[in-house]
């Protein structure tokens, strides 16, 4: 599937928020083309999830303009999904086909095959029948990504998909993101990991507003990181930087 060259996401001078008179995110302008991974960096409360809400059409927008090609697929942080919900891994993946299935029809056989293929793609074919809540954190994240694959969306929004996952899951997810880029999709990834962001195509730094946007080599400077993270940015012994986020830190 190639969508070569076209802009799939375009945001200009975005300002919006949930509470009257208070903007959770402002002065944000960027574009993401097909076949591109955008790293969205910023502290907790900096506007990463708010931006995704805007792209999903859930944020009251007061200024500016947001344009997204088609309905984006959204992968939330794993803790947002209910662990006690009585559903298996493959049933979660099948939810990605609900939007195109009439209520009175069974999910199509082709979609069932696609769900199993998506699970195989994230390395969980052998866990299809396991209850979602009984999977590890990394496995749950991969199941949610498989559900997004089922949506076959041109634009994917992943909210900190690599936070707190095991090494095997992280490697599998990173490979998958590269595959999606190769397929011509636009992938937006909220993350605190600056090292990771350096490997992707564009970086957007947010701290309630847009601090910087551009290629990683030009954007991820010390001054930009300081402006983005403020006191949460810490200098490590080897001269690199770390970001203090809640109870853990991410090397840069």
């Amino acid at each position: 599937m190639s969508r070569g060259g076209s802009r799939l996401v375009e945001v200009s001078d975005l300002g919006g928020g949930y509470a009257p008179g208070a903007e959770a995110l402002s002065d944000t302008s960027f574009a993401v083309e097909a076949g591109m991974i955008l790293a969205v960096l910023g502290p907790n409360g900096g506007g990463k999830t708010t931006l995704f809400r805007a792209l999903l059409g859930e944020l009251p927008i007061r200024r500016g303009h947001v344009e997204v090609r088609g309905r984006p697929a959204y992968v939330p942080q794993t803790e947002r999904a209910r662990l006690d919900f009585p559903v298996s891994a493959v049933e979660v993946v099948l939810m990605g086909a609900y939007g195109r299935t009439a209520w009175y029809r069974r999910v199509a056989r082709a979609d069932r095959g696609a769900a199993n293929a998506a699970l195989e793609r994230v390395g969980l074919a052998d866990r299809a029948g396991v209850r979602f809540g009984q999977l590890s954190g990394g496995q749950r994240q991969r199941v949610l990504i498989a559900r997004a694959l089922m949506q076959d969306a041109a634009v994917l929004l992943l909210d900190e998909p690599l936070s707190g996952v095991d090494t095997a899951s992280a490697e599998r997810i990173e490979t998958l993101l590269s595959d999606l880029r190769g397929q011509g999709r636009a992938v937006l990834v909220a993350t605190h990991d600056v090292d990771q962001a350096r490997r992707w195509d564009r970086v957007l730094c947010l701290s309630g507003r847009q601090v910087a946007f551009g290629p990683p080599a030009e954007t991820l400077t010390t001054s930009v990181l300081r402006a983005t993270y403020g006191a949460e940015l810490v200098e490590l012994d080897d001269g690199r930087y770390g970001v203090r986020v809640d109870h853990h830190s991410h090397g840069t």
Partner: protein
């Protein structure tokens, strides 16, 4: 076998049996969703908050169904009004509104001019159901079955992962509201049989019990339907032989199912159960 069939040898017993089975068909699967959406408090609030409407209907001599419907609307309006104060928050708004309405209902019901029907309003009158009640229960069972079949996928999406539901085609607010509306309609009909205080038992306990013993949603919905109907029938049998109130017996049987499901779960599962019953439900069922 005679011991089981005796309670239903007369017309009154048979009508009561049909009524509780029809109510169970509606309450069982709906209860699964209410528990999954963590709306047990709303279920209890709606049933308690409608009491003034029931009392006023009794005073005016009009069908309780009309009073219950009016009571639900009054309850919803009061909760909305109180919850608008952001300093209080939603839960406090519900608590204030429901306590005030329940108090108002009790005060009206205890006034000398009111016919002595308070017990019926609070605990229902399963043995006095009319043909109209049976028709209402049948219509309710059919409506709930259709509504839950249509809404199965969007309700699943929102309950499992509300953050992603919109991107998957199910706006959370719309389906949360739809579920509450279905709960309100169900409560309005069921309250005639089980009363304002006991209706919550038949809605919540079978659903919670089913979720304790099965890890599959379709299985839980089916099992909850059977458990709700079984609680109704068993409650009537016990009520007949022990000469105790029918509504309370049905509520106790529903809670007993939940207790048994918890014991069964503890014998087989390593981690805490997914559902819990509101603590005050035990107080009501005693």
């Amino acid at each position: 076998m005679d011991w089981l069939l005796d309670p239903f040898s007369g017309a009154i017993g048979r009508r009561a049996l049909v009524e509780v089975i029809l109510l169970g068909l509606a309450c069982g699967p709906l209860g699964v969703w209410i528990v999954l959406y963590r709306r047990s408090y709303a279920a209890e609030s709606i049933s308690h908050g409608m009491l003034p409407g029931l009392v006023l209907a009794a005073l005016a001599g009009v069908p309780l169904l009309l009073g219950a419907a009016g009571g639900v609307l009054l309850c919803a309006a009061t909760i909305t009004l109180v919850a608008r104060d952001e300093r209080l928050g939603g839960d406090v708004g519900v608590a204030v509104a429901v306590t005030a309405l329940f108090g108002l209902g009790a005060m009206l019901a205890l006034a000398p001019a009111v016919p002595p029907r308070l017990e019926e309003l609070l605990f229902g009158d399963l043995l006095g159901v009319s043909s109209g009640d049976l028709m209402a229960a049948g219509a309710l069972a059919a409506a709930v079955a259709v509504a839950l079949a249509v809404a199965f996928r969007p309700l699943s999406l929102v309950a499992f992962d509300a953050a992603s539901a919109r991107s998957l085609g199910a706006p959370p607010g719309r389906w949360q509201l739809a579920l509450l509306a279905l709960l309100a309609v169900t409560t309005v009909v069921v309250v005639q049989g089980l009363g304002s205080l006991l209706v919550v038992a038949l809605i919540l306990a079978p659903g919670a019990a089913a979720l304790n013993v099965t890890g599959r949603l379709p299985a839980a919905l089916g099992l909850a339907t059977w458990l709700a109907a079984l609680a109704g029938a068993a409650g009537l049998v016990i009520s007949h032989h022990l000469a105790v109130a029918a509504g309370a017996s049905v509520a106790l049987c529903a809670v007993a199912e939940w207790v048994l499901s918890l014991l069964a779960w503890r014998m087989h599962a390593p981690s805490p159960p997914s559902t819990a019953l509101p603590a005050d439900m035990f107080a009501q069922a005693r």
